[in-house]
């Protein structure tokens, strides 16, 4: 018995009520489409050219290769659809093949994307340092100036970053500059160091692209020994030597692009983009911190200070709390205790008989350059 259907020939926007008939002649059957009523034949579609398109439930939309792209036979009703599918197993088979093809495409694309992400995670630290090598030193230095200017502007409420000791020829400044030059010697860095000890209530020290290093007075005040001060300073000089600031800029840009690709939002404004980028960049940043720590340990092979003091100072100003530990993957710095352990291993076999980084008089001058009392008040760990 013929099955009722609707027919579009794909040439004219007309709809015909038709009756479908299946003729099994030879190896390949044929779907015969006849107009209802007068029985005029509107088309003969070989069964092996047929394919099913997506339609509603209980609606079967058929197209055929070799016919106009829009030509359709539409069967409606659960019963009739089941009959057609039973008569033409090729439809189910092709649908299954198509589903399999889509799954393979999705899997391939996913694997490709996963490979890109993996290559990114492992490649960027390598690549970034290569790219940094191509960045002209003068450009990086001017970039550092820009950043410093922006920072001064944002901290500008308290009159910018005021130098503790404006005289570059003072005992303290000369000692610091000498230490910097010795630490950077042999690293092949194209930059001239500019170490500035500035007044700030924030216990912090950092290096900007292009060789500027800032050491805040609050951190200096909390340093109890030369080891601690020299350790932190050598660490920051390590950032300069490795051009980490520039590297970080490059990898941040790359991460933003990658996350945007994954989320399909190239503007990167969503929280997910921010969180994902933070996670990846934090990973790169932790690597950079470890590298700078190792640099400090190398400097300590030439000058007599214990680089582990750097971890002591950091621990004093801000011990890792439970929260930092819990969120260690989002943290830009390794946990202090891990760093200390690593530094202690690195500083185990230091040669003896080295010069201390600062003489006693120099260290006193450094301690008092920001106006604090030179006598180190005993401090207990606050946290």
């Amino acid at each position: 018995m013929a099955i009722a259907a609707r027919f579009h020939d794909g040439l004219v926007a007309e709809v015909e009520a038709v009756e479908l008939e299946y003729q099994a002649m030879g190896a390949v059957g044929t779907l015969v489409i006849r107009r209802s009523g007068d029985g005029a034949e509107l088309g003969r579609w070989p069964a092996n050219t047929l394919y099913a398109l997506h339609g509603r439930r209980d609606e079967l939309r058929l197209g055929a290769n070799g016919q106009p792209a829009g030509a359709r036979v539409v069967v409606e009703g659960q019963h009739d659809v089941a009959r057609v599918l039973a008569t033409l197993p090729v439809l189910t088979e092709k649908r299954r093949q198509e589903a399999g093809r889509q799954v393979r495409l999705a899997v391939t694309a996913t694997v490709a994307l996963a490979a890109v992400i993996a290559a990114y995670l492992y490649g960027v630290p390598l690549l970034a340092s290569r790219i940094v090598g191509m960045v002209p030193a003068a450009w990086e230095a001017s970039l550092g100036e820009t950043v410093a200017g922006q920072m001064e502007a944002s901290l500008g409420e308290s009159g910018g970053l005021q130098l503790c000791d404006a005289n570059p020829d003072s005992l303290a400044n000369r000692a610091i500059a000498r230490f910097g030059a010795e630490a950077l010697a042999g690293s092949g860095s194209p930059f001239d160091l500019d170490i500035r000890v500035v007044r700030s209530d924030i216990p912090n020290a950092f290096a900007l692209p292009g060789g500027q290093v800032f050491f805040f007075s609050s951190l200096l005040e909390q340093a109890q020994t030369q080891d601690e001060f020299a350790g932190v300073l050598a660490h920051e000089i390590g950032h300069v030597a490795y051009r980490h600031g520039m590297e970080q800029l490059i990898s941040t840009a790359g991460t933003g692009a990658l996350i945007g690709f994954i989320l399909g939002d190239m503007t990167g404004l969503s929280v997910a983009a921010g969180l994902g980028a933070t996670m990846i960049d934090a990973r790169f940043s932790r690597d950079a911190e470890r590298q700078a720590d190792a640099f400090a340990a190398q400097v300590a092979q030439r000058l007599d200070f214990n680089p582990a003091g750097l971890a002591d100072l950091i621990n004093r100003v801000g011990a890792d709390d439970e929260f930092a530990r819990a969120l260690a993957l989002l943290n830009t710095h390794p946990l202090t205790e891990d760093r200390k352990a690593a530094l202690e291993i690195l500083s185990q076999q230091r040669p003896t008989g080295l010069e201390p980084p600062f003489t006693a008089a120099e260290w006193r001058a450094i301690r008092s350059m920001c106006g604090a009392t030179p006598a180190a008040e005993p401090r207990t760990k606050t946290k």
Binding site: L11, V15, R56, L249, G264
Partner: protein, 402 residues
């Protein structure tokens, strides 16, 4: 011939999609986004469109969406070719001096705004050229660059005139879109003009200004605008914002009604009635759905935390230290944060799709009737348009609609 009668009755458009079906499809899609690192979104978009198209029925024949996920994926990859240089430019600008960077960012922002117009038009081209009805494909001509320029300069004018030029811009862009749309070999027409929008728009504009002024006038003496703001002054602002939202929905319903009802296709004419209360109702449902799903998520979150870190809640009190000890394993905490965030995001986008997306489509489709449908029987198919691969920029710029 099935449709023998010559007397023409307006044919209502039917929409048979159920919220449950779309919801199930979306949930399944969101789950698949996880293992595919987000790539399944292209397949999900294709499925979603098949749902909308196939449930929209005109005179017994539903629309058919013939696009594939792979085309969207390819388009997205091509859009990256535009974005990577832009990214490089962005990066370079961020390293320049402050003023240069600000000027540069502004320039890139303007460029993106311009490109958005191009992207919108191309995306519409893609959707139309993959829309089939009665075996005949729709299409869009015109130039995406032309559209981008129009939209860009109109929007500048709208900004300069504090919004007063909007009806002109809107009518102009609607006209450009529809006058360049095709069904087979027949071109769409558009008979609307800014005059139809002027009255509702300037009325809404005036009301918004008055409500805003009253809201600010009431809130300012109560200290809502001081710094720090005084929360006592917020209620008038909130009420004003709510009323402005209602006025906005009123205008939106008028614009949709007037503009869609100006669409012609040869002898066929579209009439659409979108009622403001329908839009308001959909938004109210959306608000309720959002609040409901977030309450559900919050309860679920507490239950999960209670199981994972039960001792932290011992004795009816929350102990942060014990809680943090439970969270020690960095990876687990991080996964919990990410998963929680994804759930919140998924709930939001689900509610947007289920209530705002589906709601608007339903309102427009069910409010639509078509006269002169018989005149379309002589429309013939045009050659295949295979030039387009995906929507590219629209995906990258996140301006896709449906």
């Amino acid at each position: 011939m099935v449709w023998g009668g010559t007397e023409e009755k307006p044919v209502p458009v039917k929409f048979t999609g159920m919220r449950r079906e779309l919801g199930g499809m979306l949930l399944r899609g969101y789950l698949l986004l996880l293992p595919t690192i987000g790539l399944y979104r292209f397949w999900l978009t294709a499925w979603k469109r098949r749902f909308y198209w196939s449930h929209t029925e005109i005179a017994g024949d539903p629309l058919e969406y013939t696009g594939h996920a792979m085309q969207l994926l390819l388009g997205f990859l091509m859009a990256l070719a535009v974005f990577v240089p832009l990214y490089g430019l962005f990066f370079y600008l961020s390293t320049l001096s402050s003023q240069a960077a600000i000027v540069g960012y502004g320039g890139v922002g303007v460029l993106l705004w311009f490109l958005t117009g191009y992207a919108i038009y191309r995306a519409r081209d893609f959707r139309l050229s993959r829309t089939l009805w009665r075996g005949i494909r729709c299409d869009q001509g015109g130039s995406a660059w032309n559209y981008a320029f129009r939209r860009f300069f109109w929007s500048l004018l709208v900004i300069v005139t504090a919004g007063l030029a909007y009806p002109f811009m809107s009518a102009n862009l609607w006209a450009y879109r529809y006058r360049n749309s095709w069904y087979g070999d027949r071109q769409f027409g558009f008979v609307g003009s800014w005059r139809q929008l002027a009255r509702p728009f300037y009325l809404a504009y005036g009301i918004v200004v008055v409500i805003g002024a009253i809201g600010l006038g009431l809130a300012a003496p109560m200290g809502a605008l001081d710094s720090p703001p005084n929360p006592a002054g917020f209620p008038p602002l909130l009420v004003a914002a709510l009323l402005i939202g209602l006025v906005f929905l009123y205008y939106r319903s008028r614009e949709l009604t007037e503009m869609f009802s100006s669409v012609r296709l040869g002898g066929a004419a579209l009439t659409v009635k979108v009622r403001a209360r329908g839009l308001v109702w959909q938004h109210a449902l959306f608000g309720l759905g959002l609040v409901g799903s977030y309450i559900l998520l919050a309860i679920g979150g507490v239950v999960v935390l209670g199981i994972v870190a039960g001792t932290a809640f011992a004795g009816g009190q929350f102990d942060l230290d014990i809680f943090m000890q439970h969270m020690q394993g960095s990876l687990i905490t991080l996964l919990a944060i990410i998963f929680g965030y994804l759930l919140i995001l998924a709930a939001f986008s689900l509610m947007v799709e289920l209530f705002l997306g589906l709601g608007l489509w339903t309102l427009v489709a069910r409010g639509a009737t078509i006269t002169g449908l018989n005149s379309l029987r002589t429309v013939r198919a045009r050659d295949e348009d295979k030039a387009l691969a995906g929507e590219g920029l629209a995906d990258a710029l996140n301006v896709g609609a449906y």
